[in-house]
Amino acid sequence: MATAAKTLGFIPRPTAETGFVSWLTTVDHKRIGLMYGVTAFLFFLFGGLEAFVIRLQLMKPNLDVVTADTFNALFTMHATTMIFLAIMPMLAAFMNFLLPLQIGARDVAFPRLNAFSYWSYLGGGIFINTSWVLQVLNPAGRAVPDSGWFGYANLTTVNFSGGMGPDFWTIGLLLLGIGTLVSGFNFITTILNMRAPGMSLMRMPIFSWTTMVTSVLVIFSFPAITVALLMLLFDRQFEANFFNVAAGGNVVFWQHLFWTFGHPEVYILILPAMGIVSEILPTYSRKPLFGYSVMVFSTALIGFMGFTVWSHHMFAVGMGPVVNTIFGLTTMAIAIPTGVKIFNWLSTMWGGRVKFTSAMLFALGFIMCFTIGGLSGFMHALPPANTQQTDTYFIVAHIHYVLIGGSIFAIFGGIYHWFPKFFGRMLDEKLGKWNFWLMFAGFNMFAFPFHFLGLMGMPRRIYTYDTGFGWDFWNMFSTIGVWVLTAGILLFIWNFVQAMRKPAGTLSDPWDARTIEWTTASPPLPYNFKEVPVIAARDDFWYKKYPDAGHGGKAAKKQDQPHAAGAVHGGGHGIHMPGQSYMPALLALGITLLGYGLLFSNMITTIIGVTGIFAGMFGWAFEGDGGTVIEVAGGDD
């Protein structure tokens, strides 16, 4: 009884340290982070491929590279993939890997739940993309979601989408939502509860702060889309009436529910990216982040305001002057904390000794492109202007400037910055700079013309257009831009492969960085820190390296000497490592199978799925955390 080594009475608790089983059963936040990153990058390439085909189709007037139906499927899946399967999980990869390292913890609060988040994300991603397989097997079946990424009712109701597309989309997003919500609870608990001694909230690295605010947005916004998706699911599967106009249903209700989630969601996509940039800039400017507390406050404020603006996505619906005015004003107000951030980033560099590494270039690219995206966003906030811009390429320009120029540039910058920590190897800086300039030029060539096209009246989501509107040149130009962007991304892959072929062995702190994740080995040991660090200042590592870094004032005053009480997180005798487990993957598999069962109305799959869920949950509950205690030889302090 004391050695509960077997789960469900017969499955031995896995202990593999290498090989497939070790990855399947890992609960190590760093490994989970890497799995998130690699999986999300593959989905990113797939979503990019979809975009590539879209741009080929639109390169010239009246092309028929793909049919109109396929085009609908492509733009729907491009957006769904990029938002839910690529950018969010790539940011989750950073959160997973870095959060415990940045706050001085040995793991997240719930390691097995963390693994479960990843596996259910993988299940959901495969689930949605199964639709492409069905589409290929039966081209007439319209299996791929094709109603746009916000799935407006009544396009998604049975009358207008008889195929399986919306079902794949609805159930798939529900599956993805579970893992995301669980991550949200996990990260907030970790931040509130697991910080190293002396790591007060206002000493946390700024990326950890953005993780916190993002997680809060997740746990309060995802329930709204869960409800919306469930309503749609009931409408489609069980003939409910939520969005059935004949029975009095209101299709605008879907829009309200969706955007109640949807607007916080876009901040979920950008806030962690802002956090990454806010880590990169001080490192390569060799100055502290300008206005740290204001940055924290504006992050929290942007997060809160994200819940007050959703109807600006619906100005053209006809909600009336009162509602339009309120939401226009709240939207414009968001420019204030956002502007504060931009000025703080600029001030961080001001007077610093700036080193233009690849990571820094991406961060600078972020600031420029995100500002352009922010300005066009501000233009949408005016309801009269918005009615001109709605459903044109102007909107497409905006979202690509904040999501590629914003999130993706920050993610690439983050990869260049933390790559030594992730893999113990360095990416080539020369290739990295080529990588940046190709992506930067390609991106602006591809997305900036969308502003012109939009103002010239080109509607979004059209699969082709006639010549004579003046759209021909810019569409061609944009497609060429995509080729340049693609070359940049391919160069990154080449750089990655080259780096991975070299043996690991990078210094723990190659950039002379500021925060405590750089005190660990590269890559970090399974338990992160031999001794739980004791934090005396913001940018603690920097001030330990340069005790008289002399910036005087606040940073120095902030220093105090907490007692090195090792009581937190089981210091003293040995380090408790949580045990590996099959259960997270089993539970996620069960939930995914349940999704398939529901989708195909297949009783056997449903029963297997439910059995998997029960087995996973009970195995999970009764096996306990398990784990081992590692004795680390000798303290090095």
């Binding site: 609870f185 608990t189 509130l192 509860n193 746990i219 309503m231 939520f242 009095g248 004795e631």
Partner: protein
């Protein structure tokens, strides 16, 4: 390197806030769930009065009956809190008894709901008969599903304490289940008032 096994709940970690990780995580979950039920409830309210050609709420609701089931659920909340209390005090057998009583009352509540649903169905209210039918069944159905999950959870606790009851070593487990059960109860407090009582009072 020495090998030991350690059960999660046997070694309490020191946390920054002094709150157990599981408890904090679970409260975050409950906080998130409030938005879930708020959105479902909004669906009901937005479509209120859309009865189509089907029966209206006033024709269907039987307030005395629902009051009894509400009462049962409230008392189950009392019984689970006594279960948590007993477990914390080390009265393992008593705790098991209270948890069993709670599960039983949960089942009674579900029985009432099953009766109500069948009754309404025979009166002509279905998921597709009208927007009232749609929103009513989905809203109260999701609450019922939460109760059902709670019952399964409590039954697993009984299984957990099949030898020696639910003592102090398992008090944390009982407490989390208790929190969930109370949450389901407060959701019903709101639904009972908004869906049933306001209808009768109007």
């Amino acid at each position: 390197m020495s090998l030991e096994t350690a059960h999660g709940h046997e070694h309490a970690e020191v946390t920054n806030t002094g709150i157990d990780n599981r408890k904090l995580g679970f409260w975050l979950f409950l906080s998130s769930e409030t938005i879930f039920f708020a959105c479902l409830l909004v669906g009901y309210l937005v479509y209120h009065g859309q009865n189509g050609s089907g029966p209206t709420p006033a024709e269907l609701f039987e307030i005395p009956l629902t009051s009894i089931s509400t009462f049962v659920l409230l008392m189950s909340s009392l019984s689970v809190v006594l279960g948590v209390f007993s477990a914390q005090q080390g009265h393992a057998k008593a705790a098991r008894g209270w948890v069993a009583a709670t599960a039983l009352m949960g089942l009674v509540f579900l029985g009432f709901q099953a009766y109500e649903f069948t009754h309404f169905y025979h009166e002509g209210l279905t998921l597709s008969s009208s927007l009232f039918g749609t929103t009513f069944y989905v809203l109260t159905g999701f609450h019922g599903a939460h109760v059902a999950v709670g019952v399964i959870w409590l039954l697993s606790l009984l299984f957990h304490g099949r030898k020696g009851g639910l003592g102090q070593d398992k008090a944390g487990d009982v407490e989390i289940a208790g929190l969930y059960w109370h949450f389901v109860d407060i959701v019903w407090i709101v639904l009972f008032t908004v869906v049933y009582l306001l209808e009768a009072a109007m």
